[in-house]
Amino acid sequence: MTPASPPLTEGPRRVLLHVGTPKTGTSYLQDVLFRNRELLAEQGLCYPADRFDGHFLAALDLMRLPWGGLETQAIGAWDRLAEQVRACQGTAVVSHEILATASRSQVGRALESLGADDGPDKTEIHVILSVRDLVRQIPAEWQENVKHRSTLSYARFLERIQDPERASRISTWFWGVQEIPDILNRWGHELPPERIHLVTVPPPGAPPGLLWERFSHAFGLAGLDLDLTEERANPSLGVPETALVRRINRAANRVLDPSDYRPLVRELLAHQTLSHRTSSPRLRLPPDVHPWAVDLERSWVEEIEERGYDVVGDVADLLGVPPDDAYADPDSPSERAVAGAAVDAIRALLLENSRLRGVEARLAGELHETRAALERAYLRPSYLLRERVVRKLESTGVGRGAMSVYRRARGRSSRSA
């Protein structure tokens, strides 16, 4: 296990490019890096970001990827990030999991803009990929799809990702961000294996701090006194809760704008309400799909070992755990449990509606006060006189001409619409 950047302040300029994969603790890592960026800068590690999702926006820009109305904020974000990275003297970190799906030409553009081609002074690029077994990744990806308006059943999702043609959008995206050897073919084909680092997510039941230890080692953060408070998380849902969100999607997708879906369904219902129902059965891989996933993972493990990448953790972590006997099918959930989740969802929506009614009443009161103040202003003798003069002038051609000259002199037309 070779840390990607030890020690932070010595050696050539380095960029640690963390390109995935989703659902491997990336949000937590990015949150820690963002909140501690000043302290890290003092140690020679640069995490250039003005906002928590700065690298996400940069990735959207690099890949020209529309994403729920964030496009405007993403304009030019990659070039700005690359410029900040090039300005860093020590080690810089770029991290976002959707970079996993970048094409070779996008990878080429990214590496070039980060200084990988700058002659003798070129930047030393390290690619870091955090990875988790497919046994956990597959259900997690389906759930993430459901939280992004998908109405696809779990069975159809599994069919699509198992289709060797991979022609559907679902499977294209899934394998684009999950197929470890292919991601590394695209991101690492010009790099020696020692500059490609895999951080494996520990198996279920491992000590809670172990994944952070591995991240910390890969990014050269060991020994730094960082604030590790968990502020951002992407909590998972149980089986009946996921089934409920999917039903909501089917009923509301066409009548609920994307800009309302995110705060109301994804945040309020899924993250703030339904994720608290932790006693529900968890989403798992169906037992009949399990052998296929494990075979695939085994071929990945062999490939990774053969290529000689630096593995932080244990490559065997990728083999996943045996199937669970108590499998709960989200396509045929317990209706009683779904009803329970639905009642919780209605309660949350009522509370939110009540809060918004309060806001509405307050704003209506403020508007009323403003109107009253405006009317009092209108009743002033000076205003009434001016109004009479304008009305008189507007009634004749000469007067209208005079008003037109006056308005032009003021630099605006109060009549424009």
Partner: protein, 382 residues
């Protein structure tokens, strides 16, 4: 990487790249000639096939080298299939998507790449230099022209160019409409040239499910807003765009533009999606209307048609709108052959309207516009 000798299959692929760069049109399946590696990586099958189609469309004069280079370095934007390897020239990895014969790629995949290149072209071209606005004629009739965007917006622009800007004291409010199916297609066109969005079929389905007309199609609502803002007796409903001129004191010369064909609208919609990541929304709308749309005017092909399954809904909504307008009592100009009638808002469902836009047609148009843009240069296409 470019200095090492490539395996034979890869050399065949590099030979095809060189062939396409020099204007060749031979399909990959028929290609045999090898060449040495000439880049960091082989371009994807989508990019190579797009260049081959451009070469086919280019005729005797070749595709400009700069455009060929841009095509080979482009990536498909948004979600969809990644850059694919050529069947028979695989890198040897057992991983990643299956290699393809580029001839088998659906047109939609090629349009994805083409729309990204067109978005770059539109941004590089920029906005045309605004023409000087003539002084407003002091004796002009005061008006406001609202309603169907594909009719009202160009007529208003022509009036402004003739020194007749909208506004003034007690203007006549001209609410310009057409049969509801035409207005719906016009509203979708305006939306495509503003912000892109879902496909025509999806958009109509959403409106039908919500039982909601697009705002500028709802003439009763538009007229009501203006009646409240000014006075009901200032509002006139005009259902024949040819008669707008006389109402504003222009005897002749106002031209009503024909609707953009379905394929042109769909191409604009796709380019708009990419532009969203390149420029701000106001600039995007201006670029689509003032830089891209002029390149699409005159494109052949049928216009958009309302899907059969949503016609009953639209007819019902149009009848309700007619009733609302009748109750409001606005004067009506046009709407019936040789006369005036509110029946002019009812849909006519002309035959030949396109419901599902064919990707092949959109691709053909995209190729033509890319070539025209590359040959003309920014200053000419603007």
């Amino acid at each position: 990487m470019t200095g090492t000798v490539a395996p034979p299959d890869e050399r065949r692929a590099w030979g095809w790249v060189a062939h396409l760069r020099s204007g060749g049109t031979t399909p990959w399946s028929a290609w045999t000639g090898p060449a040495e590696r000439a880049g960091r990586f082989l371009p994807g099958a989508q990019q190579l096939e797009l260049l081959r189609r451009l070469n086919e469309s280019a005729g005797p004069s070749p595709v400009p080298a700069e455009l060929a280079d841009r095509v080979l370095h482009a990536s498909a934007p948004g979600r969809g299939r990644p850059d694919l390897e050529l069947v028979g020239a695989e890198s040897g990895s057992a991983f990643g998507p299956r290699p393809v014969d580029p001839a088998d790629l659906p047109a939609d995949e090629l349009v994805r790449v083409a729309s990204s290149l067109l978005a770059d072209d539109v941004v590089a071209t920029g906005l045309p230099v605004p023409e000087g606005r003539p002084l407003a004629r002091p004796w002009r009739r005061h008006y406001r022209l609202v309603g169907d965007p594909a009719l009202a917006d160009p007529l208003r622009a022509q009036l402004i160019a003739r020194g007749r800007p909208p506004g003034g004291a007690r203007p006549r409010i001209i609410v310009l409409g057409a049969p509801a199916d035409r207005m719906l297609a016009d509203a979708f066109t305006a939306r495509a040239l503003d912000c892109g969005g879902p496909s025509w079929a999806e958009w109509v389905a959403i409106l039908a499910e919500r039982d909601q007309l697009a705002p500028r199609v709802d003439l009763a609502r538009t007229a009501g807003v203006w009646a409240e803002r000014t006075s009901p007796d200032q509002v006139t409903l005009v259902l024949d765009p040819q008669r707008v001129g006389r109402l504003v004191g222009v005897r002749s010369g106002l031209a009503v533009p024909p609707p953009l064909p379905a394929e042109a609208v769909d191409l604009a919609r796709r380019v708009a999606a990419v532009l969203a990541l390149l420029v701000t929304p106001p600039t995007r709308a201006a670029l689509l209307r003032e830089t891209l749309a002029p390149l699409l005017v005159g494109a052949p092909g049928p216009v958009l048609g309302v899907p059969e399954e949503h016609r009953a809904w639209l007819t019902g909504r149009a009848e309700r709108m007619r009733e609302q307008l009748r109750r409001a009592g606005y004067p009506v100009v046009g709407g019936a052959t040789g006369g005036d009638s509110l029946d002019g808002v009812l849909p006519v469902y002309a035959t030949g309207g396109v419901v599902d836009v064919a990707d092949d047609g959109v691709l053909g148009l995209a190729l033509a516009v890319l070539l025209r843009s590359a040959r003309s240069g920014p200053e000419v296409i603007a």
